[in-house]
Symmetry: C2
Subunit: 384 residues, 2 copies
């Protein structure tokens, strides 16, 4: 169950031929109201895909009634023709749904620098409109997959009678601001766009923005949150924030778990930091260190590579007052080896790194993957 | 020919047993004067190996008469015992050479977090002293190798009658500030330590600091430049700077060419930048993008990944006013595809990327490697 679980939403996914393998490639999610509140966060990349440029304008007003998503092409660096394709997509969806084009969010994912086939896209969109239904939303989740191996969906329900539902895609180019991905989250709670926006930014900050699979930032990332208000329930705002964070963290872990070619999920927690910013910087520096990531792939608890990565940051620390634990084993303390590294068991998929800076009370966890042969293979053997 | 080619210098390399495979692992380079000028640049990593902590003190005074270098262990995060090992190394070298310990630079390379075997190190140092000689310096070059496949040496000669000689090691963890490596450069020109220092900083800035193999910065990097003055020639300072830059660039290319598991040398030139800083930032961002590097390994001219990397920088540019060429083929211009990417031939080892920002007259080239199966293998299959 996913985006069409909360009341007021329908979803569909169809195969239009944009993907040469014939798999589902166009998703449509509609909000039947009564509310049409929307908020979104976008990639921090300065080179933006056409659908991002379009959707920023749509979301700026705080209202949207539909999201069209396609895989099979990023529609990025495709010039004026590419932007027109996005515009036409929104117009066609608006015609079909009896709404305005300015109420249609558009998302694309795939290879940069190739034009989308407009006739396939637009006829696929018509088929997606025909296929709209309540239900699991699984077709929509499948239609946005690229190198993902499984569709990613989630639902959260409040005891007060409202729900959140979500679909997500992303398996590579996962780095913050945002992690590379498309996410659509729906809710039937009664929430205006301003409150949606604040809640989504906070939730992204502690979930998607701390997912850093390979340090590469995409041109097409977007997380869209829509509220229909169809439950008639005004949520407790703290509970809404908590459930939104929970669903975003769950989706981030699903993205991590399906990352291209990864054999380990690595949770890098920095604690004892003077600030949360320091904790994030330290964890992220380790998460982006290829030598550390390759060592974990080799089941090698090479803590020297962790400290070498910490040493490249501007965080406040004493280089000889840092403790490092791997899967609960304190391997280095105060600038010296501690317990023998051979005590560390790295055979399970999840790996837990703890870096204690002993400078304060702040902490943060960044999640990443190991650097594997399969990652190299997936990203060298064909264009994506 | 290398460090013992300029007059006044002797060098040696011996096997002490620090390397378990019995290969050469201790190098000694001595400066017989009359001058004992020295300058050095060190890793910008804040987590420093013990030999770096020691050598910074030695070099601060501008005088040194010997460099001891060992492979087989980084002597980093080895606590007070590790620092004492470095100190004892300098003292033993001083005793053997009849100089002061404060005139002995020490460098180490290898695994972090393991104590060096002192008795092997010190008896090896005695053997290295006995083996000191003029000549090629090849034993010294070989004794500092870790995952390097070839020793790296170079010589430059001025028509005015003075020379530069150098040895270098480095094959992974090559990132700026410095690239990970040990380098010793000698000259018999008459240059004081202040002029040496200025010349070395400028040469490093445009050579080693623009070598970024895998984005990982080591705890042990050091480039040491010593002048004996034994030629009796006071060099033209511009010529000295030019030849020093030339030898540093040659060494950087040798390091690049021997980088762990690489199948391509990638030269990323950003031109038309508003400042040199912008040009370096843009080139470096591309050099660190795993997806781009994997694509080059797969002989895939995936220019979208180049622009996505450019978009993560703070350089001044118009996202839709950038030209990208790969091996001379203009693949993207003004935010659109240009010539078909299939025109790009990536079969040769060297790859030339040009990114024209059209904002000014500044340019810079950062050199890097592709991300290959062999890189993953070398950095996961055993600790280094």
């Amino acid at each position: 169950m996913s985006v069409s679980e909360p009341k007021g939403f329908l979803a569909s996914g169809v195969a239009s031929g944009l993907k040469s393998n014939g798999k589902l490639d166009i998703a449509l999610v509609t909000n039947g109201g009564p509310l049409d509140s929307v908020a979104a966060v976008f990639t921090a990349n300065r080179c933006l895909a056409n659908p991002i440029i379009w959707s920023k304008q749509v979301v700026a007003g705080g209202q949207a009634k539909a999201v069209v998503l396609n895989s099979g092409g990023a529609n990025c660096y495709t010039g004026a023709e590419g932007f027109q394709t996005t515009h036409l997509t929104a117009e066609r969806a608006a015609d079909l749904l009896g709404i305005a084009a300015s109420e249609v969010v558009v998302c694309s994912t795939g290879l940069i620098g190739e034009q989308l086939d407009r006739s396939k896209l637009l006829s696929g969109l018509e088929a997606a409109h025909t296929a709209l239904k309540a239900g699991t939303g699984q077709d929509a989740a499948m239609a946005i997959m690229t190198t993902d191996t499984v569709p990613k969906m989630s639902v959260r329900e409040s005891d007060s009678g409202w729900k959140l539902g979500a679909i997500a895609k992303g398996a590579g180019m996962l780095a913050p601001g945002l992690a590379t991905m498309l996410v659509v989250i729906t809710t039937d709670a009664v929430v205006d766009s301003s409150a949606l926006n604040a809640a989504l930014r906070e939730a992204s900050r502690v979930s998607f923005d701390r997912l850093d699979s390979d340090g590469c930032m995409s041109t097409n990332d977007q997380v869209t949150l829509m509220a229909s208000g169809a439950s008639g329930v005004i949520p407790d705002i703290e509970e809404f924030q908590d459930l939104l964070i929970a669903i975003c963290k769950e989706l981030a872990l699903k993205l991590l778990d399906d990352a291209e070619g990864a054999s380990h999920n690595i949770h890098i927690k920095t604690l004892g930091a003077e600030s949360e910013t320091d904790a994030v910087e330290v964890s992220r520096s380790v998460a982006r260190n290829n030598l550390f990531k390759a060592a974990i792939y080799g089941n090698d608890p090479n803590w020297g590579r962790i400290l070498a990565a910490v040493g490249t940051t501007n965080a406040i620390f004493d280089p000889y007052g840092i403790d490092v634990s791997i899967n609960g084993v304190l391997v280095s303390a105060n600038g010296e080896p501690a317990l023998d590294r051979s005590n560390v068991d790295l055979s399970s998929k999840d790996v837990w790194i703890e870096i204690d800076l002993h400078q304060g009370v702040h902490e943060a966890t960044v999640i990443t993957n190991d650097l594997t042969h399969e990652y190299v293979e997936e990203n060298s053997a064909y264009s994506s």
